[in-house]
Subunit: 93 residues, 2 copies
DNA sequence: AATCTATTTAGAAGTTTTTCTAAATAGATG
DNA sequence: CATCTATTTAGAAAAACTTCTAAATAGATT
């Protein structure tokens, strides 16, 4: 997926808030949209960007599309930043 | 400085490459610019964005402006991502 | 099958970003 | 002090982003 896409996804405040919401567990598109002063269409767009970046994945149930954090891509971001910082890989974990 | 500014700064590929270059130690604006197929003016703009975001700081010597990584802001980013990932703060370090 | 509900897609308007060229600044050197 | 060197600022053009409304899709319910 590439860090470009991932960091671009993280660069938007609404998208960062969506990710923070998802720390509490999976939520449907509608549940997420309800917490923002944005239209459902706009939130759907942001969810698409996050999904494309690999930061979230979706699962479908009934009429709903649930989103949740993708820990593995977050770990990649973590490692990229840690490496930039010049951290010994063993110092973390 | 806020994560908005920081992640926005990280969202550009040229800026991420600049940061990667700076892993090797401080470099002048001109030395950085020489490694990119961009004008000095454009690189100067990117350096300004990185500085504004707190990701680098500058020191002046002679005619030169040297840039280097700011580890403390990188650490903040690291913690933000780690927290999002739901990591125990003690698991790192 | 008709309709309701949840979500996405399309298209457009306004804003921000990226990059350039040209000009300005500011310190060093002859 | 005139000028050279390193870097930044100004202004403009093109591309990308954010958000909206309206319409489309797709699954569930009656």
């Amino acid at each position: 997926m590439g860090f470009g896409e991932t960091f671009k996804a993280l660069s938007n405040p609404a998208r960062r808030e969506i990710l923070t919401l998802l720390k509490g567990g999976k939520l449907s598109a509608g549940e997420i949209a309800a917490r923002f002063p944005l239209t459902g269409a706009t939130v759907s767009h942001h969810l698409g960007v996050l999904k494309q970046a690999g930061l979230v994945f979706e699962t479908r149930e009934k009429n709903y599309v649930y989103y949740q954090l993708n820990a593995s891509v977050l770990e990649e971001v973590l490692l990229w930043v840690a490496d930039l910082k010049g951290e010994n890989p063993n110092e973390k974990l």
